[in-house]
């Protein structure tokens, strides 16, 4: 019986849905589409950022994945490279173990430009050149599965890579991009040398047994001896991979290998699994990705607010219809169910569209996210973002949850409509309680203040999640959304002859004296959307200014020298000592600052960087922004207490190490002690950097190659002449003059903010869309009143003008609240979230101009929309209720 009853119940609800909701949706198709669009936009923004950042992370996973299939253990130097001398030692230590050992060396190869010259730093085809032992790898299981052993060269023979002076196999994608056919030669820049490479075969992702391998990326594979030779890195390795051979007691033997490798390390290498390597890559970008996720969720929140507002407005609009239904015997429960079901359908449809838009958006955002990660963190090869079923369901669930949550209150309100009263009263207006709004606002503001001072959560690998900061931002949004509508009564207090003599003003201001919940929702939505956009503007502007002053202080040299393709975080291109000497010996050169850096693991493997520069020269010629200025002691000589070092603010905050602290680090020459002498601001990377004198670094790393050079010319030497002379002579190097480097630095920083710009744009778009909703809702709510005004003699134009004024009032209150919220959110982002996640303090700079423009744009949009809705509402015949 119960089953039958419930079946009937749902059948009736479905009938009602079809008859009532569907009819309404068709009649108000524009409104319905707008709701769907807003929901879809929110879901799309969250989903596209999720897909893009996952794709970028996965691309790193591909890079950590061994070309020889799965490995059990991987060792790499805690900093710099491993020496090949460790190999026999490891083999001896593992002599009783059945284990495959695979040494790997990687570097960067940049195709030399041919006809269309790519500007320096924009080498899209920069390839990851992987050196493998092309004989030893045959001992790994099923080597015939690796394409480079299945491929045929131009003569139909298996490509001979071992010891080849030219032979490489390339990822199919790279070969396509370069239109490079088997047997053909291409010149690549490897380190600072041109190397002519001959394509022996192509790695084709489709034909590979393991489709996860990065065959499709910009990858070149060659024999390790060749890569060592080409890159000038004889005797060096980047990592060694181990795979324990299958057989009895595999886990035990795997563990034994781990024990032996740990016991023989003596700090010379870090032992990881493939999984933990992948994880450390994820940790590197975690703060970046988390911030993106939160920002994308804010976009969804704004969308949600607007949907809530729209559904709520729909209850008002359809009030009399509901009353009719109730009079015909439809129960309150059924009305609620119908309303929820309608929200569910909106959620499903909006979610579906959102998934589609999200996937499309991801194809665009993945390049931006990938580029950012490539520039700041590590090499990526991702070019497209895939959508997994789980994520699609997740997006749909998000949309449905948002829609149902937004529909909950309107459903309850709709169900509570008593039939008789509704027929009699028409629109029942819910007045906003100023006291309650102020109270709630104060409560949220108090909570925001508490969250703002709480410390961040510390995650694996030292990454910090500023969750309290985000909660503070959320509380601020709610506080401002509650408080901003109280601006309306304040506006209403404006008195004067001019107002009294202008009926539209008078009418509108009279309405402001007692704002309704509709006003509250409209202003709340606007506040949120405008606040988000304003906060982004503030953050981006502050970052831009901070970077600008940092760049101005730092970049003082006349010419900057780096290798081609050396603009990403892990580019392995280096300038050899002979070249450095030649450049320094140029008669026009006054001084040369050499810079070299290595990744470094500290405290349980947390990644950071150790760099070397000619410190005295750097301090003399540049203006670093000091948080803790070093004393007068010499920074170029090692003291008994350790090597003097400067650290960046991010490093100091991340590792809690400030001036006067000492740290122990592992370098290829063993354990070293550093003494922190000063802390300076740096926006280069959030993992921080230790800077020691170049002479100390070379002593530790036994390597004289440099990452880049800052060249100071003699006063009478023209920079452009030297730049031209060098550019024509050293094709593998990029010479930028001061202005060009500044431009390149800003380009990189702006590139990293591309997603933020997109979210800012989204905020503006949603804010403008929200105005339409807010004002249409307000117009609908006061339609009876408008009709009344017309009945007592007010002209249509007066009524329309009053609607315009009311709309402008709402927009003004929204803008005021939004911009104020923007300031608060901006401050939170700058002083709490950024400092906690990235460890740097930005100089807060208020972008008055852009903010004013933004406010004006909102105001104009508000005026236009108010005017249109006002005119539309007065044209409504009195009997037409919606």
């Amino acid at each position: 019986m119960r089953h039958e009853y419930s079946e009937n119940r749902w059948r009736e609800t479905a009938l009602l849905l079809r008859w009532f909701s569907w009819r309404n949706a068709r009649r108000h198709w524009a409104h319905s589409l707008l709701i769907l669009f807003l929901l879809a936009l929110g879901v799309a923004s969250a989903l596209s950022i999720r897909l893009a950042s996952r794709a970028a992370s996965e691309s790193f996973a591909l890079f950590t994945e061994s070309l020889a299939g799965e490995t059990d253990w991987v060792i790499s130097a805690p900093s710099g490279h491993l020496s090949t001398d460790v190999l026999p030692e490891i083999r001896e230590a593992l002599s009783e173990q059945e284990v495959w050992i695979g040494p790997v060396l990687e570097t960067t190869a940049v195709p030399a430009p041919e006809e269309d010259f790519e500007p320096a730093g924009r080498e899209k085809n920069r390839a990851r050149l992987v050196g493998l032992d092309t004989v030893g790898i045959l001992n790994f299981p099923a080597p015939e599965n690796y394409d480079f052993f299945r491929e045929r060269d131009e003569a139909g023979a298996v490509p001979e890579l071992t010891g080849s002076t030219q032979g490489v196999v390339a990822g199919a994608a790279l070969a396509e991009k370069l239109d490079w056919r088997k047997g053909e030669e291409r010149t690549f820049w490897i380190a600072d040398r041109p190397v002519s490479l001959r394509l022996k075969g192509r790695l084709d992702a489709e034909s590979r047994s393991s489709p996860r391998l990065p065959a499709a990326g910009n990858i070149l594979v060659a024999d390790i001896a060749s890569v060592q030779h080409w890159s000038g890195r004889e005797g060096q390795l980047d990592r060694v991979e181990f795979r324990v051979k299958p057989g009895p007691n595999l886990d035990e033997r795997r563990e034994r290998v781990r024990e032996i490798l740990s016991a023989t390390s003596h700090g010379r290498w870090v032992l990881e699994t493939e999984e933990s390597r992948r994880r450390s890559g994820e940790i590197m970008t975690r703060a970046f990705r988390q911030n993106l996720t939160v920002l994308s969720l804010i976009a969804l929140l704004v969308g949600w607010f607007l949907i809530l507002q729209a559904l709520d407005a729909a209850v008002v609009r359809r009030r009399q219809e509901i009353a009719v239904l109730r009079s015909l015997g439809v129960t309150a429960a059924m009305v609620r169910r119908m309303w929820i079901l309608e929200s569910l359908v909106i959620g499903l449809l909006g979610g579906g569209v959102g998934i589609l838009l999200g996937w499309i958006g991801a194809q665009w955002s993945v390049r931006i996210v990938g580029q950012t990660i490539d520039t700041l963190y590590h090499a990526t090869a991702v070019e497209g973002a895939r959508l997994y079923t789980g994520e699609a369901w997740g997006g749909l669930a998000l949309a449905v949850a948002a829609a149902v949550a937004a529909g909950w209150k309107p459903a309850r309100d709709a169900a509570r409509i008593p039939p008789a009263q509704s027929m009699h009263e028409g629109n029942r207006v819910q007045w906003l309680s100023p006291r309650r709004a102020a109270g709630q606002g104060a409560l949220w503001a108090g909570l925001a203040a508490v969250f703002a001072v709480l410390p961040p959560l510390t995650l694996d690998g030292g990454a910090r999640l500023p969750l309290p900061g985000y909660l503070a931002a959320f509380a601020c949004i709610l506080a401002m959304a509650r408080v901003a509508p109280l601006l309306l009564p304040a506006l209403a207090r404006l008195q004067g002859e001019a107002i009294r003599g202008t009926p539209p003003l008078w009418v509108a201001l009279a309405r402001f004296r007692r704002p309704t919940t509709r006003h509250g929702l409209a202003i709340g939505g606007l506040v949120l959307a405008a606040g988000m956009a304003a906060a982004m503007t503030l953050l981006i502007h502050s970052f831009d200014r901070s970077v600008q002053s940092w760049v101005e202080g730092n970049l003082q040299a006349d010419i900057f020298v780096s290798t081609r393709g050396g603009d990403n975080a892990t580019a392995a291109g280096r300038i050899g000592p002979d070249t450095v000497e030649e450049l320094a010996a140029h008669p026009g050169v006054d001084a040369v600052d050499r810079f070299q850096s290595y990744s470094l693991r500290l405290d349980e493997g947390n990644p950071t960087r150790l760099a070397g520069a000619d410190l005295e020269l750097r301090l003399e010629r540049t203006d670093l922004i000091w948080l803790q200025r070093p004393g007068p002691s010499r920074l170029t000589q090692k003291e008994p207490t350790g090597a003097p070092a400067l650290v960046t603010e991010s490093f100091a905050r991340r590792f809690g190490a400030w001036r006067g602290n000492r740290l122990e680090i592992f370098t290829p020459s063993g354990q070293q002690m550093i003494q922190i002498e000063g802390v300076f601001a740096d926006y280069g990377n959030e993992h921080g950097q230790i800077l020691v004198d170049y002479s100390i670094l070379t002593e530790w790393y036994k390597e004289e190659r440099v990452r880049n050079l800052s060249v100071y010319l003699k006063p009478e030497t023209p920079a452009t002449a030297v730049q031209q002379e060098w550019s024509s002579r050293y094709g593998g190097l990029v010479f930028r003059n001061n202005a060009e480097l500044r431009e390149a630095v800003f380009r990189i920083f702006r590139q990293t903010f591309a997603i933020t710009y997109a979210l800012q744009g989204l905020g503006v778009l949603v804010a403008i869309g929200g105005i339409a909703f807010a004002l249409a809702g307000a117009a609908l709510e006061r339609r009876d009143e408008d009709f009344g005004l017309r009945s007592i003699g007010f002209a249509r134009s007066t009524v329309a003008a009053s609607a315009l004024v009311e709309g402008l009032g709402i927009v003004l209150a929204g803008i005021a609240g939004g911009i104020s919220l923007g300031f608060v959110l901006g401050a939170l982002l700058i002083y709490v979230v950024n400092r906690q996640s990235f460890g740097w303090t930005l100089a807060c700079e208020i972008p008055w101009g852009p903010l004013a423009l933004f406010a004006l744009a909102l105001l104009v949009t508000g005026a236009v929309v108010s005017g249109m809705t006002g005119r539309w509402s007065v044209r409504l015949p009195s009997e037409k209720r919606d």
Partner: protein
């Protein structure tokens, strides 16, 4: 589809194995002691100085150190092993044009095969390993010291010429043996040169320890045993290659309980005939060698066994019929009966051969010794693989 690995493997194995018994092709005109490709060719065994000559000779195209043996635990559980270290060199001119360094050499390839037979279970575990000259594989010049991964063979005492051999055949299967010659080394072939064909390039230095006392430990499926027994070692150096006419060969190293040994091989030609450069050498109790040419002995092939893995049909249970120097040249018949039929070695490149431990039975079926037999070219012609 052939892989680079299989090509290296086939090239190496075929050349190496044919050096054992095959007539060499003309590799080019002789240029003093070098052939047309620049490899040195065997010419004067007296020039070899020992113990240094036990080491590697990279001037020659290929070289191999081949050890087989029969081992017994204290409880008389019987095992057999095979350990082969191959070294292959690219032509010197080509080698000069390769990028090579101490850690990752080019132009010198080291291949190794290891096998353990457990007669109790009948299981035959075998493994192959290939490496370039460098950090993980080396065959030193000037003395015997060879390593390929964690497999190794080295001379531990140059006066007594004792050896240490370490090998594995999968996880849990490993052996470490001390090997001591019970007889002095011998050079098979007339005048210390093992001839493989009519051409002057078709010859090798074929140096053997035909009887080594073996002692050490062997782990089988994780269970460790103390073992002792008898082993055989060949070291062959050449620069030869197969001819078009040759499709495979059969080889046997026989250790008789009366203290004598026989090494014999017969080369099989396409037309089914036995190549005239087939050979049999008797080693008497004092290590004195007596040579017999193709017309003086013959092999009778036994019943065919079909490999379930490769489908190759090997004529196992062969009978070697040869004059016995101790019986004034009267014919002796020795049946080489496999301890287990499944002793096929299948390399990763698909190249398969049968390399198995046998008992040696006399005319009456009495066991009179032990042997190792090698049969190649049954899983497809080797020539066709090149």
């Amino acid at each position: 589809m052939k892989s680079q690995q299989s090509e290296i493997l086939i090239r190496t194995l075929t050349v190496i194995c044919l050096a054992l018994g095959g007539p060499g092709a003309v590799l080019g005109k002789l240029n003093g002691d070098f052939n047309g490709e620049g490899y040195r060719i065997p010419s004067n065994p007296d020039a070899l100085e020992f113990p240094q000559a036990h080491g590697s000779h990279p001037d020659f195209r290929l070289e191999w150190w081949y050890l087989t043996g029969h081992l017994y635990t204290e409880t008389e559980r019987r095992f057999a092993f095979q350990a082969t270290f191959f070294r292959y060199a690219d032509p010197p001119e080509e080698r000069r044009n390769l990028i090579s360094n101490r850690d990752f050499g080019a132009g010198l390839i080291h291949l190794a095969h290891m096998a353990i037979l457990d007669t109790e279970s009948g299981e035959h575990a075998h493994r192959e390993r290939i490496n370039r000259e460098g950090w993980d594989a080396v065959a030193k010049e000037g003395g015997l010291d060879i390593r390929n991964g964690n497999w190794s063979l080295r001379m531990t005492d140059e006066t007594r010429e004792t050896l240490e051999l370490r090998g594995t055949a999968g996880a849990g299967n490993e052996f470490t043996l001390e090997l001591e010659p019970e007889k002095p080394r011998v050079f098979f072939g007339e005048h210390g040169l093992s001839l493989k064909g009519e051409e002057p390039t078709s010859r090798s230095y074929y140096i053997s320890f035909p009887r080594l006392r073996a002692e050490g430990s062997l782990s089988w499926q994780g269970e460790r045993h103390g073992v002792s027994g008898r082993a055989w070692m060949d070291h062959e150096i050449s620069s030869g290659q197969l001819t078009d006419e040759q499709i495979g060969w059969d080889w046997a190293g026989i250790q008789l309980d009366d203290g004598r040994e026989i090494m014999t091989f017969q080369l099989r030609r396409k037309d089914g005939a036995i190549d005239p450069f087939s050979y049999l050498g008797w080693v008497d109790r004092n290590g004195e060698l007596r040579h017999y040419g193709a017309g003086e002995f013959h092999w009778e092939l036994g019943e065919e066994w079909e490999s379930p893995e490769t489908g190759a049909r090997y004529p196992l249970g062969i009978v070697v019929v040869a004059p016995d120097p101790e019986l004034d040249g009267a014919e002796t018949r020795l049946t080489l009966k496999p301890l287990v039929k499944e002793q096929e070695f299948v390399g990763r490149g698909g190249l398969a051969y049968w390399e198995g431990a046998c008992d040696v039975l006399d005319r009456d079926g009495e066991k009179v010794g032990t042997a190792f037999v090698e049969m190649t070219g049954y899983a497809g012609s080797l020539q066709g693989r090149l």
